[in-house]
């Protein structure tokens, strides 16, 4: 028991861990807000596409020695907007959803391949790539934490300003369109939320695992809440809890932190699914 407490003290004393917990908290805010919107608007696949296409941005940054974060952000925004426009065009032409899914899939794979090719062609390729695939929450530099604060404030500000429009879109896109709301622009705004969150989360859990943190906390929170904003807050809290539990798990088992966080999240999700009464 003493050994355990000592070990936990050591964990909290570790500067890595303090940064990691802070990063978990900041990621939780973004995941709560964006995750609920992604889930309600059935954008999970698009979010996955945006996350992987972001890899192309990482490749560009490596190849041309550009700053990674802005480069990834721009690339991810562009790819996500392109996917959203394809979805909107398909919908207005009355296409079935699978044609749009195929287009997202192509962008998903294409963006990733583009990134890998550029990284392989980069002079002095360093092998830091795994950090972008699986995240490096233990080595988040202070500058990135500041960046995450900025992203969170931006997301919360956008949510506050467009709250009723986004609410209407998420509840019933068709009815919102009938009332004359600018659903296309609001849909594109949602995609901006996705891209911002994805780029921010790449540092924490990596792009492979972005989907889990966007969907699992939100889908758990939805079962407990009757209103949108409380469910966002609860989803954020779940994200934070998964990060903390995952980090503790990783500390004691020496399993990599990003994977640990997701293992915890998936385990809780499965448990909740099994325990929940069938609806």
């Amino acid at each position: 028991m003493d050994a355990l407490i000592l070990s936990l003290e050591a964990l909290l004393a570790s500067p890595f861990m303090r940064h990691a917990l802070l990063a978990g908290l900041l990621a939780g805010i973004a995941c709560g807000v964006t995750g609920v919107l992604v889930l309600q608007n059935r954008l999970t696949f698009l979010a996955g596409g945006a996350a992987h296409a972001a890899y192309g941005g990482v490749g560009l940054a490596f190849y041309f020695s550009l700053p990674v974060l802005p480069c990834t952000l721009l690339f991810s925004l562009g790819a996500a907007a392109l996917m959203a426009l394809l979805v909107l065009r398909g919908e207005s032409e009355g296409q079935r959803g699978d044609a749009q899914d195929a287009a997202i899939g192509a962008l998903w794979a294409g963006g990733t391949a583009f990134g890998i090719i550029l990284i392989e062609l980069s002079p002095g390729y360093s092998g830091d790539l795994m950090g972008y695939l699986f995240g490096s929450i233990l080595t988040v530099p202070t500058a990135d934490l500041v960046g995450m604060v900025f992203f969170d404030l931006l997301l919360l500000g956008l949510l506050f300003f467009f709250r009723q429009g986004l609410w209407a879109l998420s509840l019933d896109k068709e009815f919102a369109a009938v009332r004359g709301l600018p659903v296309r622009r609001l849909y594109l705004l949602l995609v901006v939320f996705v891209a911002l969150t994805v780029v921010m989360l790449i540092r924490v859990v990596g792009l492979i695992l972005v989907l889990a943190l966007l969907t699992i906390p939100a889908s758990l929170a939805r079962t407990f809440c009757r209103s949108l904003y409380p469910s966002m807050a609860l989803a954020g809290l779940f994200s934070l809890l998964f990060c903390v539990a995952g980090l503790v798990f990783s500390w004691f088992t020496d399993i990599s932190s990003g994977a640990s966080i997701i293992v915890v999240a998936v385990a809780v999700y499965l448990l909740a699914r099994v325990m929940a009464p069938a609806r």
Binding site: F162, Q164, A168, L171, E174, F175
Partner: protein, 311 residues
């Protein structure tokens, strides 16, 4: 406002087809006075819902013209209340019935959309929910509602977009602005008594706001309508407000016969009354009588009714 003088709806030579496929609607022409209460009937797949989606601006006509209160469909959103047949509503969305109802008054703005959530708006929403028999459910989450309750909540939501004083007090004032209420199967999943009360309420609004209802279970409430039109790719106006047995026979053919009430009446030497609301009659189209199909007039639509199931 010039639109007060414009007809509620002017449709001329309208045709619609999904990209390159068989036309869903062809040469549809329809004029509707402000304040009229119109019922659209017809078989499934006949284009009734498509016509409503064209009116609200979710679809664009391939040819022909369509105006709502003198405006293009996309421009008239503030004057339209719409209850779709299959809603885009996410039933799992974390929101209460009251929150969804309030959203019915949404208007476009620079922030994407805005609607009132103050005391006055909430009182109004509660009043509509009460009219629709949902008193006490306002604070419930959407996911806890049954299908029929959800549909009624959607009607309350559509009413929120309408003229406030008139909808709450139809006797006292004329509406503040022209309003067209479009209801696609509004009483699906509602029991007979609820259906009657609902149409009774709509009947009170007649003359103030304009209403189009698409439904299959109109037989017992037909006195409330000003006009009935039959939609099956083309639109055929029927004379008079009531659905007589002859009109039904002209549209759907005489049954051969799966309705026990009518069978009994037949055995007793009586006529099958138009008031019969037996599901098999309401569903129509059991077997067609060739003599009715050859009848011409509105019955010429019958060729296309064959082989389709009116549900």
């Amino acid at each position: 406002m010039s639109s007060a003088l414009s007809p509620a709806l002017e449709i001329a030579d309208l045709s619609f087809s999904h990209s390159g496929r068989e036309p869903v609607l062809e040469d549809v022409t329809l004029d509707m006075r402000t304040g009229e209460f119109l019922a659209l009937i017809g078989p499934n797949g006949g284009g009734k819902s498509t016509l409503l989606r064209l009116i609200v601006g979710l679809l664009r006509p391939c040819s022909g013209t369509l105006t709502v209160f003198g405006k293009a469909p996309g421009q008239a959103s503030a004057n339209i209340g719409y209850v779709p047949q299959f809603s885009g509503l996410s039933p799992d969305f974390p929101a209460t019935v009251l929150e969804m109802t309030l959203m019915g008054a949404a208007e476009p703005c620079a922030r994407g959309g805005i609607w009132g959530r103050d005391r006055r708006a909430r009182d109004r929403a509660h009043a509509y929910l009460e009219i629709l028999g949902l008193t006490g459910l306002a604070g419930q989450s959407l996911s806890s509602l049954s299908g029929g309750q959800r549909r009624r909540a959607m009607v309350a939501r559509a009413l929120m977009g309408g003229p406030e004083n008139f909808l709450l007090h139809p006797d006292s004032t004329s509406p503040e602005f022209p309003f067209l209420l479009l209801l696609d199967e509004p009483t699906a999943g509602v029991d007979a008594e609820g259906t009657f009360c609902f149409y009774e309420f709509l009947g009170k609004l007649r003359g103030g706001i304009s209403i189009i209802v698409v439904s299959h279970d109109l037989f017992m409430v037909s006195p409330f309508f000003d006009r009935v039109a039959f939609v099956n790719r083309r639109l055929t106006p029927l004379s008079g407000p009531s659905l007589t047995q002859d009109a039904l026979a002209a549209l759907f053919g005489r049954h051969m016969h799966a309705c026990p009430v009518a069978d009994m009446q037949h055995a007793l030497g009586g006529r099958h009354l138009s008031g019969c609301s037996h599901p098999a009659c309401a569903a129509g189209l059991q077997t067609h009588n060739p003599e009715a199909a050859a009848g011409g007039g509105p019955g010429s639509a019958l060729g296309r009714v064959d082989g389709e199931v009116a549900g």
